[in-house]
Amino acid sequence: MIPSLQRTLWITRVTFLEAVRQRFFAFLMVLGAAMVLSSVSFRVFDFGHGELKFIADFGFGGMFLFGSVLSVVMTAQLFFSEIDNKTALTLLAKPLSRSEFLLGKFFGAWAVLGVFVVVLSGLLGVVMWAREQELVAMAEQAGKVPVTFSASGMVQFALLQWLRLGVVIAIVLTVSALARTFLFAVVVGSLAVVAGQLQWIAQDAVLKPTGSLIYGAFLWLSTRLLPNLQQFNIGDALVLGATGVPAEAVAEVALSGLAYMVAYLFVGTLVFRRREI
């Protein structure tokens, strides 16, 4: 067990270093950071949402958009670079199983996305904290109740985003294990993200009674096979306390994300074992 873990960690380390050195990662990180920082300047276009909400939404949007792009494209690129450069053949000729290789790739990519999420949410937290201090002072002068943001909520949101991106990476690796080309993996991975974001429509529909057996079966199947990525987007409620989230709900969402990751990685491993390289 321990040698297997060591081999997985070794692949993870190499994958992480390779990904962090990529210009693509740096580019998206800079874009995301610019989006978070520029939110303060863009607040003049805001129509009465409350400044903190506007800034938070800008940051969440950047994290969602660039995080999704990064997790799809970078994961597929990291996987196919090994296949196309034939380094996978050399690696797998050594005492390294295909599941260890795939898991190493997953954890490496997930760690990079962890850095991405930590940097962006940290930056967003600092921007919101700084603006909150000014808004609190202004609200006190005007005799109003100030709007505050929750740092612990921000930590929970960052964790949920990291889990969401982990699910996306697991899906992209499963698709990559099956796909022949990088482009196919990226396109299908991106569609999976969009479908996952809209899966809640099926999940809402499945809770209502339906007369058609086929329609019901289709809904049931789609809600089981596709992950519900929308459930991770509760930043407003967590960070600004807009509607409030029960603590057990956050834990359930986190566990659901972990369950999907395990399930997709297992499927990906099975597919990759049968793949010809």
Binding site: F47, N233, T243, E252, Y260
Partner: protein, 256 residues
């Protein structure tokens, strides 16, 4: 049987994760009120999808609102209303969107409709009145929906009261909204006085005096200046009702 063992386990894992996701979605669903709203359906193709996909909802709501202004200037009633309602749906906690949507529907769109039908000279007065009332009702419905999402509902209640008073001509409803606004924690100082005035002018004089007196005694008198203008209003009411001196509000030391 052996070759099917692993795929079977994989299927079980995916289905299990899906089943667990259903439980977690039920717990977290009320925290995302922006999604799944009927108002979003007609405008899904106009970039609003981006807002639903996660993050950026506020930005998309702002852009939708700017676009609705373009249609407002063109007096395009269906388009303007759809986009304004979309902005409300994308950010249901923004008072600005609800307030302005309610006002635009309740005040402006009735005029657009009358002009569309040929103008004020051509449309009979009764029809005009019916149109004003119809749109006022719709504006109030929007405001009531906004009140449900608002933490500080007084401004939206005042808008609804104003629409009910001036356009719907339903003074009982207007008084109800003014009373709710006056009794809410963020009540503005004028809400109670307007409420009492409408009741008074509606012939509910004794009721208006009783309510306003109770409100003034409980919520205004304890405040720093005691609201002398409102006391003056109450004195006018006491004179109008011809109350005996012992039935009137005891004279505070500061009253002139």
């Amino acid at each position: 049987m052996r070759p099917y063992y692993a795929p079977g386990l994989a299927l079980l894992l995916v289905v299990g994760a899906g089943a667990f996701s259903e439980i977690s979605w039920r717990s977290v669903r009320p925290s995302i009120p922006e999604i799944g709203r009927k108002e979003l359906e007609p405008t899904l193709g106009q970039g609003v999808l981006l807002g639903i996909l996660g993050g950026l909802r506020t930005v998309v709501a702002d852009l939708t609102w700017i676009r609705s202004y373009v249609l407002w200037e063109r007096k395009d009633r269906p388009g303007c209303e759809a986009l304004m309602r979309t902005a409300c749906a994308l950010d249901p906690h923004s008072r600005y969107f609800w307030e302005n949507t309610g006002y635009a529907i309740g005040f402006d769109m009735a005029h657009w409709e009358i002009r569309r039908r040929g103008g004020y000279a051509k449309v009979p007065a009764e029809t005009q009145q019916r149109i004003f009332q119809q749109y006022a009702r719709r504006g109030i419905d929007v405001l009531v929906e906004g009140i449900g999402h608002s933490k500080a509902p007084a401004p939206l209640l005042l808008c609804a009261a104003q629409l009910a008073e001036t356009k719907l001509k339903d003074h009982a409803l207007s008084v109800r909204y003014y009373q709710e606004a006056a009794e809410s924690p963020d009540a503005p100082w004028f809400a109670a006085r307007i409420c009492a005035n409408i009741m008074w002018e509606d012939g509910r004089k004794a009721e208006a005096y009783r309510w306003f007196r109770k409100y003034w005694t409980e919520r205004m008198l304890p405040k720093e200046d005691g609201f002398p203008d409102d006391l003056r209003q109450l004195r006018v009411m006491e004179a109008g009702l011809r109350l005996k001196p012992e039935e009137r509000i005891p004279r505070p030391t500061w009253e002139r």
